[in-house]
Symmetry: C2
């Protein structure tokens, strides 16, 4: 059996996104022990860089040693006690996963549904909280990777607080790609992933917990059901050299990669990164529309980093994606849940939010559709995108 040498893909799906060689090189640096003083220094630097990325001064800000789904579970098992009522706003697949998490933690989930591709409706949340004054928590996905919808986290958190509930925010796809201000918006608990707009390989989940969330954790009457995710234990491990206690063994080399990726975000500047995602989204959209393709969703509610594109009648979803992969080494995402077979998901996340990516995607997509007999003017699409860049 030979070593595994992956094909050289261009990643424009819902994550992972393209990883910069700086990050890959960082991950290949020699492994050190997780109790090494140098490693403790790295942990401190990562916490500081994550606080910048989340825009928070929360002391409890660190990466959980598992993918984004684990960050989600960490928030729910720590903050939900058996019997707690949790309002879950669901406008896609990941809201549904939140409901699962609430119920497995012994909570009562009250689901507020919004149409797929639409943002969470603040009024429906308000109504649900009025009908359920016993609700202790509100949970929603700020950037729904399954639908491309961006919700107004600031407003939703305010509503939750007005009703005495804490807010758990899914920022897996949001972090680094759209404006996010944990302290300014007073978010109580938030989790993200590394393989989206941070452009790291998957495997870590940055989280941040504010004072109210920690108070709720401390006031628990029942133990956290997960040993691995019990913040009371994990915090000892991430609490700096003076008070550090053994818990598990952190994924050392993955943390080298996260450090480098966060450093790159810091060098670019958070606002600049948000602006870059917005720019390339506008260019992609202009190009797609020039080929008569339409983005799902409503104006002002679309994620720049995740573009859901309706598949035209007569075009074979799977065949197009296979052609992109085979002929262009280009990965775009299939539709998920309700959108399976009906939409593509084109990611412009982190390193994949670039002019090179936008132009390559328009070219490949136009050509693949033309090969299926659907006239698609690549030249017009490229010109439309370039016009956005020239403006």
């Amino acid at each position: 059996m030979p070593s595994f040498n992956p094909p050289l893909r261009t990643l424009m799906g819902p994550g992972p996104s393209d990883v910069h060689p700086r990050v890959l090189a960082a991950m290949a640096r020699p492994t050190i022990g997780h109790l090494d003083p140098a490693f403790v220094g790295l942990m401190d630097d990562i916490k500081a860089l994550l606080r910048q990325a989340f825009k928070t001064r929360n002391e409890v800000t660190f990466p959980i040693s598992g993918p984004g789904s684990v960050g989600m579970e960490a928030c729910f098992v720590n903050l939900v006690e058996p019997g707690d009522t949790v309002i879950v706003c669901r406008n896609g697949v990941f809201g549904g996963r939140m409901k699962e998490n609430v119920e497995r933690a012994g909570g009562v989930a009250i689901v507020v549904d919004d149409p797929w591709t639409r943002a969470v409706d603040p009024q429906r949340l308000e109504d649900a909280l009025e009908t359920n004054p016993q609700a202790r928590l509100v949970a929603f996905v700020m950037a729904e990777t399954s639908t491309g919808a961006l919700s107004d986290a600031s407003t939703l958190v305010q509503i939750a607080h007005r009703h005495g509930a804490l807010a758990i925010v899914d920022a897996v796809t949001a972090l680094g790609g759209v404006p996010l201000d944990v302290d300014g918006w007073d978010i109580d608990a938030i989790y993200s992933g590394t393989q989206k707009c941070l452009s790291c390989p998957p495997g870590l989940s940055p989280v941040s917990f504010g004072a109210r969330a920690l108070d709720k954790l401390r006031a628990r009457k029942t133990p956290v059901q997960s040993w691995f995710l019990d913040l009371n234990l994990v915090l000892g491990y991430w609490s700096g050299a003076a008070r550090r206690s053994y818990h598990h063994t952190a994924p050392i080399n993955a943390l080298y990669g996260l450090h480098e990726a966060l450093l790159m975000l810091h060098e670019e500047g958070l606002e600049a990164a948000w602006a870059r995602h917005a720019l390339h989204h506008r260019a992609l959209r202009a190009g797609l529309e020039a080929m008569d393709l339409r983005l799902a969703g409503a104006d002002g509610e679309r994620l720049p980093q995740l573009n859901v594109v309706g598949i035209p009648d007569g075009v074979d979803d799977a065949r197009v994606r296979q052609t992109l992969l085979d002929d262009y080494d280009l990965e775009i995402g299939a539709g998920l849940g309700e959108f399976a077979g009906k939409a593509w998901r084109i990611g412009l996340m982190g390193q994949s939010a670039s002019r090179r990516h936008v132009l390559a995607c328009l070219t490949a997509l136009g050509s693949a559709m033309a090969a299926q007999g659907r006239p698609s003017d690549c030249g017009a699409a490229l010109a439309a995108a370039q016009k956005v860049y020239a403006a």
Copy 2:
């Protein structure tokens, strides 16, 4: 803030062990999507290689996307139902962690204690099962990283089965370092880690489940409390191209590394790797004894890959370890739990089980102790070790 460039350590603690450049290089290969056909092929190869390493034909053999502690939790939350009685054999720190896991999963843990440094006593397990015929599960640590004790997994599993209980085996430190035969010994559920005798960076937990364990899982009356670790869902993700379903996003690059490390184990041969660990253990022991240092534990119960060495009177534990780190870039482990300040833990795991490592450790340790006024004849220690190699 600069990039993080780790110091070049020699890792001889309780893990992580030294990672071969082949594995580091593999981790730096370009990231591909977790739904890429090439990635599905990689998953299949990893499963095949893991079956070889575990010596099993269990279909359900794959790496959980989290460190060894997550593998432990995966076994307990899937196999323990609320109210189940579980006999936990505890002869070190990690047996204690198993108890925590049983209780958080709603089970009743009956702990059978054995002295630290000693193997689990089969007779005490037998007695506990006779007193508790309601026990559904037995759990024990085959290779206790906190004490260096090797337990007789084959015998313990037989006893469990004779009493109608299933056996969960912790093989975090065992896999690749000592004889282990999942099918031959009829183990029901087993978990390991990558950063010990497989010499990968930490972050993944290989597991394997046999038919009886899967039957117990299928017969559950309550849902698994963890969404992320629910095998009913995870198995869909790891079940091969034809039936694969989305669950989480696997840590792609960490899996490149695991594949390469398993390939290296396969090239060396499992039996050869076990013999290598045994050889370097004998050499290390001869060298330590020549300096009048003693290994904890009893003959026939010592792990070759994890050597617990009593700290002589008058020698300052922390100062010695600091000297090794500062002057030799050599990491050995501190004592854990009962052994804090009383013993060192010297790992000879995976790539760290080599003549170079043994000789470097003897030299550094002798010199560091001599600097504290304890006469330690490095020359004699090296000669004693070399004599083992010459034999």
